[in-house]
Symmetry: C2
Subunit: 155 residues, 2 copies
């Protein structure tokens, strides 16, 4: 485990960019504008009846979206900002009659680093606003990354 070493590096101000660190700072590259306002009303996956939404890019990363076009299939990574980070075990699907499992063997949003994965299609582009869908992220969800989908990525 490199944790002690990384902490030591932080204390000594070691700036080697190739050494792992104890923590990393994520800054959103955009936000979701969606009619979904409440996590309780959001489908658990995008292919389970999720709506389309706007992905509003931070203007400082505008250039990174060059090459995205209507019809492009993308993977959107979000930060599930309303998820609990102190939960290690959960009832799968939120069904309390199912035995508890570790969150790493589930798709629960509650987990130490609540990153959401969403496959969606670019439906329209208006400046820094990308219309994408379907996507089950709720309104106001921070977007942390966009990647082009590979042919082998999920439908």
């Amino acid at each position: 485990m490199d944790d002690d070493q990384a902490t030591a590096d932080a204390h000594t101000g070691d700036a080697r960019s190739d050494a792992p660190e104890a923590s990393y700072q994520i800054r959103p590259i955009g936000w979701i504008e969606s009619p979904l306002l409440d996590p309780a009303e959001a489908p658990k996956q995008g292919n389970l009846g999720a709506p389309d939404a706007w992905l509003v890019l931070d203007p400082t990363v505008r250039e990174a979206a060059r090459g995205l076009a209507v019809g492009t299939d993308i993977i959107v990574l979000t930060w599930l900002h309303r998820a609990r980070r102190d939960v290690l075990v959960t009832h799968p699907g939120g069904v309390v009659t199912r035995p508890e499992r570790g969150v790493f063997s589930t798709r629960s949003p509650a987990r130490p680093n609540p990153v959401g994965i969403h496959r969606a299609t670019v439906l329209a582009i208006q400046g820094d606003r990308l219309r994408v869908g379907p996507i089950e992220a709720i309104d106001g969800t921070p977007v942390i990354d966009i990647k082009s989908a590979l042919p082998t990525d999920p439908p």
Copy 2:
């Protein structure tokens, strides 16, 4: 854009857990131990001849792995700690003769928040050490999340 509001919240110490913030802190939940030592020698995707590796869990999140078993297909999210975060456009595949594209329309590791996505299978479990593969992450790569793979996730 909620950026100004989030910054204002941070300044006033507003602790509402449902408001987006300007940045989030990711703490690794484990690390990769791999024979791959150099990003230049790593395949670009796990299904392109990547080796197996050990995923060493931080003991503080041990309970979150309950339910993972040999044969379980998982999605591993990593923090590509050696990737540049200040790159917004790149030559796809690193081939300089190909026209530059925004990193959000590529799978380049260089991007504002360098999160890697890897589908792998749990091959063995020894305490807090999970043997997983194939996976193209290099030795020392921080792991930030593990999710159970869905049937529709990529092979």
